[in-house]
Symmetry: C2
Subunit: 640 residues, 2 copies
C-alpha cells in the first residue's frame, strides 16, 4: 500500500499514512486530537485544519467543505479533516478551536445518603486444619465454617478463587477472610483477617465517563475520577456511534474497545489514588444510556437506530467483569442496571433509584440532559418516562462557537437591558468579564448558551419567536456574510482572533432543543392529568451548571415555583453508587424499569402541536406565574 | 546465555540449546519424544540415549546413571537423558526402546444404556416482531415466548449469546431455536428451527485422554477419540506431575496448558469427523483422578502430594468452558464431576454412576486400575472406597522390558508346564508366537506382565513367594550380570537385538502392586464384614485386556466365582457420558461422592500385615476355592 508522510502541527507528530486516508483518520492514528462532533460524517464542520504545505497533495474540496469553509479561508488552506484525503506528503496545522480539550465538568459523586447493604460482604473465618482423620476438601471446610458461624447456605465458588484457595488457606495458617457475593458465591479469599472490601460504580455517559471507588464496608466514596468517553472520536452522539458501528466491519468492537480501555484507565487511576490495586475491586455497577449499555456489552446497537428501537434486553445483567474485559478482581461481578426502552436507558434507571420518585407524593419532573434528554414525571402512583431528541445543542454542539465545558468556555452571560452590553464568566475563573480580561474566551458551553438566549430575550434583542428584533440598536448586533449575529465577546476578549457570536441559527438550535424538552414534559402532564408541577429536578452534569432562572425564562420546562427547582448533579452516577452499596436498590431498579411507562413522543398525535408552541420563548401560550416579566428584573446577580 | 548445537538421531532434529540443559529438556524443546516414566527425576532409567558425537561435551556420569547403565554401555556412550547435561555440541541417538510410541488402547465408549435427560435442551420458538406499540427488548420477547410455549420461568442469558441475539432473531425472521442449560440459562441461539444439540464427555486419565462426542437429542455417541495425555512428558504418574508442578515456577501452568491443548485437539478431531464445528458443543462433562482434576482446573495440586492429601474441593463444578480455555461454544458449561478424596477422584465417581453399586444388592468389588489403583466395595447399604499405591508396574512401567500397550507389546503369554516353552501374542496380531514370527516384539505391556508372572507360577518356575525355583531346569532361566531372569522372547523374536526377559525384580514389582490391591480389598471386606465377594468388576482400559484367570491366579483380588468376574472397559468415561446425557446422574454423583466412605489404607493398623500376606502368590493364607490348582490345568487357551 502506498504511504505518504504527514506532519501535524503544533504537536509535530508525524508518520507515513496510507494513501487515501482522510486527515482525521491520520490524526486518530497518530493520537492527534481533532474535534469531530459528527463523528466524521462531514456534517458539523468542527474539524477544521489548515494545510501548511502540500496543498496540492490533498483531494479537491468537497461540497461539504465549501459549505463550512468560506472562500477566503479555503484559499488560506483551511480544510475539513474528515473530508480531505491524503494523496501526497503534507503538513497540517490544527487550530486552537479544532483541538479537543479535556472537559472540566467532572461528574462528582453526589451527597445522596445510601443505606449500606452491599452485595459483596466479608466473612472472616478460622478453620480447623485437615488431618488424616478429617481430610475434607478446602472448599468443604470453608463452606462448613461459613454455615456454622454465619448460617450461610453452601455458596458456590468462582473457579479463579478456587485456584487460590489451597495456597491462601495455608498461607494464613487456616485463618482467612472470604468475600461473598449475595451470600451466594465466594468471589475472593484473603489470608488472615481483612476488614474492608471495595467496589466501583460507573456511569458511562455519551460524553463523560465517571467512576466512583467506594468502600463496601463504610459506604464512602474513596476516590472519583472522570474522563471523556473516547468513543467521542467515532461520533459525538449515540446515533453517530450506532452509524459508525453499522458502517464499519469492526465498528462495534472498536467502540467497545474504546470504552473498556477508558474504564480500565479509570480503574487504575482511582485505585492508585486510594493506594489500592485494581484487584481490590470486588464488584462493579454500571449505568449508561441504551446505546452505551449495548456497546459496553458488545451487543449490536443497530436495532436501537431504527424504528421500533427495540433494545436487545431490558433486565439487569450480572456478568463476570473479566468477561467484559474489566481489569478488576478476576471473580468480580459486574452488575449492569436495567434499561427502560430504546431511548431511556440504565442511566435513567440510575436517576430513578437515586431520586426515588416512586416513593414520593409530590408530582415531580426530572430532566436529565446529557447528549440526549430524558424525562421522568409522576409520583408513587404512576411514573412516565420519555426521551427527547434535543440534539446536542444544549451541550454546546451544533452551535457556531459552541464547545464543551472546558477551560476557556463562557459559562455565564448577562446582558444589560438598557446598554445591551455583555458581561460573562469563563470556566475556571470566578470573575466576570470584561473587567478582568486575563485570558481570552474560546467558545460558549451549554450553560452559557442557555444564558445567552435567555438574556437576548430578556434584554429585548430577540422576540418571543426567537427572531432578532429589527428595532434593536447596538453595534453588537451585526450582519456578517448576510447572516445576523450578536457579539458576545469581541476579538480582543477571545483567544481566537475573532469575535464569539450567537447567530440566528444558534438561537433556532436552542429553541428546537428546549422546545422538544418542554413539549415532552407538557405531553406527560396531559397524560398524567397534572396541571402544575410540584417540583422540577435537573439532573446530569449539564443540570448542575445551568442557571435555573435562565432555563425557566427560556421555557426549558413548564412553570414551577423556582424554590422547588433544583439541581442534583450526576444522579445517574448516584444510582450506580446506590446499586453498588445497597442490593435492595437493584430490586427497585428492576421493578421501576418494568413499571415506568414509556411514552413514545414521536407516536403521540399532539406532539407536533405542542412542539410548535414550545418553540416560543418561553412558550406560545402557557402562562409562567412564577417567572418575572421580561425586561423587568435581572435573572441573576449582575456583575460589578 | 551460552548455547550449544544439539542433533537428535534418527529424527535429525537440531537446534541450539542453552548450556546446562539436560538432554531430556533439549529433546522436549525440539519435540523429540523420549520415554520418561518418572518425569525426569532419574528414578526410572527409561530415558536412555546414546551419545554418538561430543561425548566429552556432556556432564560426567551421575550415580543414578551408574545404577541404570552398565559399565560396558557407558563406554558405548549410553546416558540417561534426564541426567546428562549439555556443555558443548553433541549428537544424540534415541534408541527404539526409549522412544515414546502412541498407545493403541483406545478408551472406547461403553455400551451402557443411559436414560436421556440432558442438561442442555433445544426450544424452537416463533416470536412476534417488535413494533412501535410493542417495543419490548429481544430477550424479553424470547423469554415471554419460552414461558408461554414451554412454561419455563424466566431464564438468564449468557452475555455471549446476548451479543448474538439481535442479529440471530432478525436473520431467522423472528423464528429461532434457543438452547437452555437446566432450563435456567440460554446458552445458544440459532436462527430458524434446529433439531440437534451436541455435548462432549471427557475422561482425563493420567496416561490416556478420551473424548466422546454425543448427540444430546438422540443420546448416541457420534464420534470418539483418544490421545495420550501430553502431561506424560512431565512425569508418568500423578506424583511425578505434582512434583513437577511443585518444583517449577510455571509448572502448573505448563501441565494445565498441555491438557487443555490436548482436549482442544480432540475437540477439533471429533467434531471434524462428525462434520460439525467445535462451536456445536454446548456442554462438556469431565472426569479424572483428583490430580488430573486439579491440574485441569488450574488448582494447585501440591496438597494432594502430602498428608493429609486434602483436595481443594470435593463437590462438582459448573464452569464456563471458555474460562477453562476449551474451544467449544463460548457459552457452553463445563460440568466437572465431584471427587471423593485426595486419591479417589472424579474418575471413580464416574465409575460409580456408570456401574451403580449403590443400587445393587450383591456385594461387588470394583477395581479400576489405571496408573494408580482405585477400589470400591459394597452395595446399596454401604460403600467403601480406597486408593492403592500400586505404582505403575501393572501398566508396564518400572519393569525391565515393560512398555505401554502399543504395537509390538506382548499382551498374552503362555508357558508350557512341562517344556517351559513360551508362546505369546503381540498387540495388533491375533496369532500366537513363535509360530508366526512376522514382526518382532518390543516389550511387555500390563496384561502381558500379569500373564507372565501368573504363568511362571503355574509352570513351577517361581514359587509362592515369587522366587525363581532353584530346581527349575530350562535354558530360558539364566543369570546375566549376576541377576536371574527368565527369557520370554529370544533376540530373534524381538526388534531389539536382545532377549526380552522377566527379572526377579520385575516379579517383585508385580507382587508389590497386586499385593497392595489385594490387601486393600481384604481390608475393605473386613470393614464391611464380607466373607465372600458376589462380583468383581474390572474397570479401566487395563481391565479390558487383562486375563481374569491369570489375575485371580496371581491373587490380584480375593477369590470369586470366575463367572462373576467381568471387565467393563472405560467405566469412568461411561460415567462422564452418563452425566452428560442424564442430569439426574449428576445428583447421583454428588450424593455418592459424599456417601462413599473413604478408607485411608495407610492409616489402617492391619494394612501392613495384610499387605505382607498378599505378596504371596496367590496369597499367603487365603483359600481360592474357585481357582484350579497350580500346574494342573492351563489358565487359558493354549496355542497350537
Amino acid at each position: 500500500m502506498k504511504k505518504h508522510q504527514v506532519v501535524f502541527q503544533p504537536s509535530g507528530r508525524r508518520s507515513a499514512v496510507p494513501a487515501g486516508s482522510t486527515v482525521l483518520e491520520a490524526a486518530r492514528s497518530l493520537g492527534v486530537d481533532i474535534e469531530s462532533v459528527c463523528g466524521g460524517t462531514r456534517s458539523c464542520g468542527k474539524c477544521r485544519v489548515v494545510c501548511e504545505a502540500g496543498t496540492a497533495n490533498l483531494s479537491p474540496f468537497t461540497p461539504e467543505e465549501c459549505r463550512f469553509i468560506e472562500q477566503k479561508e479555503r484559499a488560506e488552506g483551511f480544510r475539513l479533516a474528515c473530508a480531505a484525503e491524503i494523496r501526497g506528503n503534507a503538513v497540517l496545522f490544527v487550530p486552537e478551536e479544532s483541538r479537543r480539550s479535556t472537559q472540566t465538568i467532572r461528574k462528582e459523586a453526589g451527597k445522596l445518603p445510601i443505606t449500606l447493604n452491599p452485595a459483596v460482604r466479608l466473612f472472616p473465618v478460622k478453620l480447623l486444619p485437615p488431618d488424616l482423620t478429617d481430610p475434607r476438601g478446602d472448599y468443604e471446610r470453608l463452606a462448613a465454617t461459613l454455615a456454622e458461624c454465619y448460617h450461610l447456605p453452601r455458596p458456590t465458588i468462582d473457579h479463579t478463587v478456587l485456584r487460590e484457595l489451597p495456597g491462601v488457606l495455608r498461607q494464613g495458617n487456616w485463618q482467612a477472610t472470604a468475600a461473598l457475593w449475595l451470600e451466594r458465591e465466594i468471589v475472593a479469599i484473603y489470608p488472615g483477617e481483612v476488614e474492608e472490601a471495595y467496589g466501583l460504580a460507573v456511569d458511562i455517559g455519551s460524553t463523560t465517563v465517571a467512576a466512583y471507588l467506594c468502600s463496601l464496608s463504610a459506604g464512602t466514596v474513596i476516590a472519583a475520577e472522570s474522563a471523556m468517553n473516547p468513543q467521542v472520536a467515532y461520533g459525538e452522539d449515540v446515533i453517530a456511534r450506532i452509524t459508525y458501528a453499522t458502517e464499519h466491519p469492526d465498528g462495534l468492537e472498536s467502540l467497545r474497545g474504546a470504552i473498556i480501555g477508558c474504564l480500565n484507565g479509570l480503574i487504575r487511576s482511582v485505585t492508585k489514588s486510594a493506594g489500592l490495586a485494581p484487584g481490590h475491586i470486588l464488584e462493579v455497577t454500571v449505568v449508561g444510556n441504551t446505546a452505551m449499555h449495548h456497546i459496553f456489552l458488545g451487543v449490536d446497537p443497530r436495532p436501537l437506530g431504527v424504528a421500533p428501537f427495540a433494545p436487545a434486553i431490558h433486565r439487569s445483567l450480572d456478568i463476570k467483569a473479566r468477561d467484559l474485559g474489566l481489569a478488576v478482581h478476576p471473580a468480580a461481578n459486574c452488575h449492569v442496571l436495567p434499561v427502560e426502552a430504546g431511548f431511556v436507558g440504565a442511566d435513567n434507571v440510575g436517576v430513578l433509584i437515586a431520586l426515588e420518585p416512586y416513593r414520593r407524593e409530590e408530582r415531580v419532573l426530572i430532566i436529565d440532559v446529557g447528549t440526549n434528554g430524558e424525562l421522568v414525571m409522576g409520583n408513587r402512583t404512576k411514573l412516565l418516562s420519555a426521551s427527547c431528541a434535543t440534539g446536542p445543542a444544549l451541550e454546546g454542539a451544533h452551535i457556531s462557537f459552541g464547545m464543551r465545558a472546558a477551560p476557556g468556555a463562557i459559562e455565564r452571560i448577562r446582558i444589560d437591558s438598557e446598554t445591551r452590553e455583555v458581561s460573562f464568566k469563563i470556566i475556571g475563573d470566578e470573575r466576570w468579564r470584561p473587567e478582568f480580561p486575563l485570558a481570552g474566551a474560546r467558545g460558549i458551553c451549554g450553560s452559557g448558551i442557555i444564558d445567552a438566549v435567555a438574556e437576548l430575550y430578556r434584554a429585548g434583542i430577540i422576540d418571543q419567536s426567537g427572531r432578532f428584533r429589527s428595532d434593536c440598536q447596538t453595534p453588537r448586533l451585526r450582519t456578517t456574510d448576510g447572516r445576523q449575529e450578536f457579539v458576545i465577546a469581541w476579538p480582543e476578549e477571545t483567544q481566537l482572533d475573532k469575535a464569539i457570536t450567537i447567530s440566528q441559527q444558534d438561537v433556532r438550535s436552542v429553541q428546537l432543543a428546549k422546545g422538544a424538552l418542554y413539549a415532552g414534559a407538557k405531553l406527560m402532564m396531559k397524560r398524567l392529568g397534572i396541571a402544575m408541577l410540584d417540583r422540577v429536578i435537573l439532573a446530569g452534569a449539564f443540570g448542575s451548571y445551568i442557571d435555573k432562572k435562565s432555563a425557566m425564562l427560556l421555557g426549558v420546562f413548564p412553570d414551577c415555583d423556582l424554590d422547588h427547582v433544583s439541581s442534583v448533579g450526576n444522579a445517574a452516577g448516584d444510582g450506580a453508587r446506590a446499586a453498588l452499596l445497597n442490593r435492595e436498590k437493584r430490586r427497585d431498579a428492576e421493578a421501576v424499569a418494568r413499571e415506568v411507562e414509556y411514552l413514545e413522543l414521536t407516536l403521540a398525535k399532539d406532539f407536533q402541536e405542542e412542539f410548535m408552541a414550545a418553540m416560543f420563548i418561553p412558550h406560545g401560550a402557557d402562562a409562567f406565574p412564577h417567572l418575572p416579566g421580561p425586561g423587568t428584573t435581572a435573572t441573576g446577580p449582575s456583575p460589578g
